[in-house]
Point group: D2
Chain length 383, copies 4
């Protein structure tokens, strides 16, 4: 694929994810962490317009000056932003207007990409591709949240089963020897700034499971009072459980003594063979404590992951999200990308069924606050 094809292919995928939606589904924001789908469509477009077309495309006419105000996310350099919790209060621009905006920017981008582009622009373009792919993952999990918290439990798509191929019944622990290992991205392809610099770490000997914790395993935790014994929990995790009356993973509903869960193809019985998902870090930690084990660190995970399959659930690690040695952020608005989130968040490794193909890699560092559950998170044990 050439650059234009690559660009169009990524842009099209965002729109395909929205195909099953009704117009109304594009608009709502049930909680602050979930953005309206139409905002994702506008924001990813605004990214290309703001960081590529405006500075580099001669004679480019901004589509609508007000859109900077509406579609900016955290890029404080660029102007006042709509505060995040207000996104779901904006009925305009309408979905149609946003698709027109996408078309306008896409046409300008295609035209621009058919010219010679500088290396600096090329790098911004690749960042824009990866940025849109990150939002594609959020788009799908935000849509799931919007539909899954509706009392009518509408189906997203009957062809979008969440059943995985992964078998979880032959769990074995792999041993990794102590020693110095290299961590971080190494290569000439794209990676995010937070994967750099590649550096040495010393790891103690450890064991790590070759498979994820299953729903069956997790139901055992629930049935053994896992949610009502503070001993397994962090103090903050326990407060979270009590304050929010947490008794099961997100999207689980107990009906007549049986566990159902909302999936993209509707409300279904929980499948015991599948890996548990939609758990917070607090729950992952409590589960591991109850088992007398622990979660792996992100470095252990990165070294061990060559030896097991991964990629269907983002896996909580014990590591806090911190800069690697020599980390430095880019100047200007692009520099706001990752570094400013490096406090109070936990690293997740792997990928999920919502991650676009080829978007993740073994050195990829995802990160969320420890109480969040709307991503396809999972649990892998270490000891």
């Amino acid at each position: 694929m050439n650059l234009v094809e690559k660009y169009l292919s990524i842009r099209k995928h965002s729109e395909q994810l929205c195909e099953p939606l009704q117009t109304e589904d594009y608009v709502v924001q049930p909680v602050a962490d979930v953005s309206p789908p139409k905002w994702h469509l506008g924001h990813t477009t605004w990214f290309f317009e703001t960081f590529i077309l405006k500075p580099f495309s001669r004679n480019y006419q901004v589509y609508n000056e007000d859109y900077n105000f509406v579609f900016n996310s955290y890029y404080e350099t660029v102007g006042n932003r709509v505060i995040r919790t207000d996104r779901g209060n904006l009925s305009r621009p309408s979905v149609n207007e946003i698709y027109q905006y996408r078309n306008y920017v896409d046409e300008a981008m295609v035209k621009f990409l058919s010219t010679e582009i500088e290396n600096e622009v090329y790098e911004l373009l690749i960042l824009g591709f990866n940025h849109e792919q990150q939002h594609q993952e959020l788009l799908l999990t935000d849509i799931k949240f919007i539909l899954g918290n509706n009392p009518l439990f509408p189906i997203y798509s009957e062809h979008k089963s969440e059943i995985l191929n992964s078998s979880t019944n032959t769990a074995e622990f792999l041993n990794i020897e102590a020693g110095i290992y290299e961590i971080g991205f190494d290569g000439s392809d794209f990676c995010f700034d937070n994967e750099l610099n590649r550096h040495k770490v010393y790891l103690n000997e450890f064991s790590i499971s070759n498979s994820l914790v299953s729903n069956r395993d997790f139901i055992e935790f629930i049935d053994n009072g896992g949610y009502s014994n503070f001993n397994f929990w962090h103090a903050e995790g326990w407060d979270w459980v009590k304050t929010n009356h947490i008794e099961a993973p997100m999207y689980w509903h107990q009906v007549d003594g049986k566990w159902l869960n909302y999936t993209l193809d509707g409300l279904k019985p929980v499948n015991p063979e599948q890996p548990v998902t939609h758990v917070s870090y607090y729950e992952a930690y409590a589960y591991a404590s109850w088992k007398g084990m622990r979660l792996p660190t992100e470095f252990e995970w990165e070294i061990a992951a060559k030896h097991f399959s991964w990629g269907e659930r983002w896996e909580w690690t014990e590591s806090a999200y911190l800069p690697y040695p020599g980390f430095s952020k880019a100047p200007g608005a692009i520099g706001e990308y990752n570094g400013k989130f490096m406090v109070n968040q936990k690293v997740l490794r792997g990928a999920s069924i919502a991650t676009p193909d080829a978007h993740s890699r073994i050195t990829y560092r995802n990160f969320f606050h420890p109480h969040l559950r709307w991503q396809y998170t999972g649990i892998r044990l270490a000891k």
Copy 2:
């Protein structure tokens, strides 16, 4: 008009109010007091289905059992309700589905109304008409809020000017003598339970203005530091001003030293001749204090209103919303209509440009919490 025509005419008016909307505008709920337009359309339909068709129309098939959960408002008797602040998080049922629901119920109602109906049903029907008219007023003011708080300031309709015919420049004070007066509804037509019983009150001599406070008057209050002198305010009003940084009526924006306000036909210069609107009771009270006057009580208003024109702005009174002597609420869910709101609210008298024709009357009692401003409220002085 016969009953079927009356029914269809009222139902059609709700839909006409929504004609200028885009689908997205039907969905959002920017603050708890503002409901999504699609919720109003569904809720008023649910009212006829629940209180007329289900109990009285033989063989009526409920359209969708889940809708009771979604479109119930405060009628706690009838089942669990969606908590009020969550209405704006529901993308489904979609706007189309709600219009289908309306059609289904309208057809059933038309069929039902062509049969002989009992007196009890007739009274519920008239209540349903008035209920839908109340929601028509909210529909328009909620739409104004949704559009007027969007940074793009979209126009609702260019043919919906808010300019009134009322002239405010010949303000005169009318004198009303002391004596015993009769208050409350008297007649055989419909009235709300809160307008009954008609009863005697003793009024002292008072004077009341024949016109509303104008924008020119109110700008004088602003320019004289009305918002920064606690002496004019209730303690709670002053807290409200400070906490919310209130400096002008709702929808007013100061641009280059000039006051603009958002109206249904867009952002326009404030017209000094027009009556001030979108003020809270706290502001109405503070304005009157600054003038060395006061607001009328609802009883003074009802007696004096024969002598001046009214109906374009709901007028804040000094009266708290309380039951009249002998007030009793109807049994069952219908009884929840008014009585349970009779604490911590203020009475407004009159009507507004958003009130459907013939919906209000001289004994009509509207009521809101003292901080609310999104209705077309106004100020009339007494002394």
Copy 3:
């Protein structure tokens, strides 16, 4: 008693109320509505210093300029105030320092009062007496709150039984005829501004109980599900019940199936013959609704109270706290006294066992927000 004796007698009573306290009890503020006892002692002193000594006593030296900041309550005219919820965070001035401040001001007042005083000063003095008496009532109820919410349930005084003489078992309803009545204070003695002007009201015929609702009555309400049936409650009352998990009057604890309540002489069994107390307006209203009756208005109460005994419980009325016809507030800081609270509060009539002797009268208007319960409130039914 001459003025000096009167002054000293009132001042001494405040200190007597605090005699049973340990130093620590003077300091805490468990909720915003309850002030630390030492604050009451300082604030009432500050009142005499600020409104009498500073403006009228030649050569008076202010005790400590910083105290204006600490002991001001709502008198926004006089300077910045310590925000109300912060009072309990102030360990200084210490209790001893406050008693020294009282002594200093008392000496200056005694000296000042032995001179000829003008009429304006006399009126401020009488206001200061009544102000301190109001705080004496709060002092006792705040102390009860501080001790009664301590898990050790310390006794205030074994000689301070709350058992009343009132017998509640011969409840009868008195009939009052319709007609024009005079309401408000009439006479040459002191009254608060909110009791004026005396004015005519028209009352419909009504019946009112000659006694208060008893604990036995109220337990019947509880046992009949009064707290779990929304039909008896205002919408806001019902929210209050649900949000705060209200299941009984304040200070009641169910132990082994029996009701105990905290009283000034410790935790005791609830006495069924005594009038129920520490109920909110919401509970008073719900109780009356459950009985198929209502609360009296403040006007009905004022007219009927000649015919029954009262004075041990403040009695919730159905009336909102509003100005009487012709009400006007005094200029300056004194004018902040009552008028600025005339929104969102309910009138209580009568007095309580915490009210200083001769402080209340038949025209006295007390007022609190409808959810508050820490005063000795009670319920009298009307119909």
Copy 4:
């Protein structure tokens, strides 16, 4: 010193810290993170009673069963606890009662320690010593907060100057070579569980300052707009700055253009030569970013600290508070000590002027949430 002398010496030090207090100062809790001094005195006593006397001292009579409810902190195993934010609402037990409780437990402990004690008890005793020393540090910083947030700025002690000997004007950067280092406690003396296990880490080459950032340095940051440029801040740090209107370190007040700060001996001019203190992690990070540098990790600090003086300010590190390899918590209530706080907190290394002698060491790990400032925190730069 033998064990009894050691015990009494530590116990006495807590009481000496409170000697300058007035009774009222023992009671208040201005914010959730600050406990009333009397609570510290009771809680440390409760620790010895609960974990040593009750289980191991034959015939020990518990002083007051209710005290478990009042003085328990986070030890959820042991019973219901008073929720943390309520501590400042408890006037009882009084200060005198708590000193009596201390005497009672001290006498029982002295008697018990004069018998032969088992190793298990010895370890709990040493833990109790260290526990009380931790609370001594909090006691002093909580007292500073209570007095320093009082509008009268009372002096704690004129002999308690906070001026340090450390000179900050010859700042130099030390170079440490890359390599494998050993981290964690090594020896037979007491250490906390979070300092174990000793383990290898690989460090890259780094430079670290031999001195702390001074007030002069920090004023330069302020004067250069450090608090108003989001680029230097984490997203959460920026929200914290904006929400709380942060413009300087805690206890700083700008008066007539000059910086004063509250110290234990009162309000004084900020001394430019002294190390800056009472800054949050967010501020420490922002300062380092503005300088183009960073904070050291806790491992870098532990290796480099042999080469510079430390011990007057707790130093923020870039490290999150996480378990060392092989960390395991003790069974039962003692196991709640540290592990359950290992999320969302930052490690501080060193000690402060409030730390009791010999309480800290080079492997000691202190930890706080990133927004907290009431400890004597400081900033050391690395690059």
